[in-house]
Structures are given as structure tokens and as C-alpha cells.
Symmetry: C2
Subunit: 198 residues, 2 copies
Amino acid sequence: MKQKVLFILLNNYADWEGAYLASCLQNGIMEDSPTPYEVKTVAPTLEVVTSLGGFRTVPDYSFDTMPSDYAALVLIGGLQWNTREAQRVAPILRRAIAQHKIIGAICNGASFMARKGFLNTVKHTGNGLEHLRSWGGKAYTNASAFVRRQAVTDQRIVTANGTGALEFARELLLLLQADAQNRIFLYYNFNKNGLFEE
Amino acid sequence: MKQKVLFILLNNYADWEGAYLASCLQNGIMEDSPTPYEVKTVAPTLEVVTSLGGFRTVPDYSFDTMPSDYAALVLIGGLQWNTREAQRVAPILRRAIAQHKIIGAICNGASFMARKGFLNTVKHTGNGLEHLRSWGGKAYTNASAFVRRQAVTDQRIVTANGTGALEFARELLLLLQADAQNRIFLYYNFNKNGLFEE
């Protein structure tokens, strides 16, 4: 029985930010190397959500029907993390953290974490320190723990900026122990460097 | 009135391969820089197709309902380009080439092009020369025009390997003149290098 990794998608979610991670978890990092995980998508309702690229995604669950038994929660960035609808993710996150779930947040998913005070006890990154300060306001009190890296893991929280989709995948795959470490690094290097030089 | 760019999706399509391109075309390469294009997805039927990452996508069109008025056809790689269903893309491609449409093909999308003889008059790349030879068999007669680059544009055809999603996007955006060249290169470099060093 595979453990679920839940991807939280709002409308105008960023197509590329969860793409490497989802395909690795669901289909294996390399051929014939299944992981113990399966990917499920979660959106505010069961209605279709549309990505920035115009892909129309049917969610597996809504915020009301999502299961409580899962391994990790992943917040995919996009343009609607400052909406009223996004507010509904705050209690979901609070519960997940209380239950020691693994959390991933990339781009404005990380900005939302800052705004809700969830980055105040971990080293983290995001779309730049000024960006997190701007989103977080007084709720963000942990600027000294901002790290200038593409993706940062601390305790059970992984954050990344919007250009760090591959590093975000690498860090979450490692934290989830989705496959052997050397295979995760091989995958990352192959995709980061490319089959051919540019 | 925006021109359509049609993304051909089969089941088990690769989430990351069209993700940068689609979001740039549909949402603009940078903030407040709309392109003259819109992204539409096309699948064998109007049934949901599921990506390698488990994302369930509702296609905008089926092979039977797709419009004939469009700017470009983009074949996204994945694990079903060697199926009977994929055969139905051959006449669509033949018509598109006859009508001088712009064609993009990444990963096994490019392998399929080789198999159907569509790479025999252009410089091209793909998932390696041996891979194209294996897929193409006798129908692939243009090995001398294989180029060891992440993505290659020749005439109106762009090909790429599965690790070249960003280069694939760059080449198609340039060919489509989706935005000013310097903005396309800025976007590419920012995403290729990342906000922070690794």
C-alpha cells in the first residue's frame, strides 16, 4: 500500500514547480524503480483547476475530502496564494505540522508559509528575503534563518524558490527516502546538467 | 484573437517537458508581457489523460475535434509514443508539416518523429542518436544531421531530449516570436542558472 503525497493546487498554479517531483514519486526516479509513494492532487473544490500554462487538472481530492493519512503535503506556487481561497490552506498546514508530516513549499507556497508564521522555527529559503519579508510582514520573524540556496531542508520542511524545481524535488525525495541517495543525486545531476552541453 | 499552440498529450505524458513552454505562452514570459498565443491541450479522446506524475488533465480537444487553425503543434514525450493510439498522430503531423505549421517534439515525441520519417530533412536532436536509430529503424535515414545539443531548431521543426525542457521552450519561443529575443534569453538564463547558486 503506497503512502500518499498530496500536492496542493490552486488555480494558476505553476506547471513546472511540481513536475519533476510528481513524476519521480509516481513513476519512479529511474526506470523500474518504483517508490513507496503515490501522488494525489488536492484543490479547494473538486472542480478543475487550471495551471499557468492552461492545463486543466481534475483534483483527486478537495480541501473537504482530502485524507488524513498521508506522508507529505506539497504547496505548489502560482498566482493565487494571496487570495481568500488560499486562507483555507492555513489550518491544513497547521494540522500537518502538528502531526509531523513532511511539508514542501515552493515559490509563493513558501511565501504563504512565511505569511502564516510557519517558517519561524526552521532554516528556509523562498523567492528572496525581501519577497518573504513583504509577504510575511510582522508574522515573519525569522529572516536570520533565510538561506541563499535553491532549496533548503530543515527538520521536516523543504522550501525552494520558483527556479528551484529540480532542487525542490531532490530535497523532498531525500527527506522522503523515496529511493537510494545515489540514484536521487544521479537523477538530479542528469536533469540539471542535461544530456548534452548547451 | 490569440493563435493556438496545440500540445499533444498521451497518457503517461512527461509533466516537466511542456511545463516551461506552456506557462510562458499562456501566461507570458515575464509579468505583464502577454504573448499572442494561447495553449490548448489535445488528446486521443476527450477523456482525462494522466501524466507520469499522476496529474489528471482534461484535454481541450480530441484528435477528432482539434481545430485546423493553429500556429504550432507540440508533441510532449512520455511512455506511450510506441502504442497503437500514438499512430493516430502521424497523419496529424503530416498535415501540419504540409501546412508549414511550427512543430515541437521533445523526448519520445522526437523519437516518434524519427520513426515516421519526419526528421529526414532537418537537423535535429532527441534522446541520443542510438535511441533515434532504434526507434526509427529503416524509416530514419538522417543520422548525419543529428546534433548533440539540448534542443535544435531547423526550418520550422524544434526537437529536444527529455532533459531539455528549458531549451525546448527557448527554441520554440524564439521560433514563434512569442516575445522579444532578449526577454526569452533572460527567462532561459534565469531558470537555467537559478536564483541562487547550488
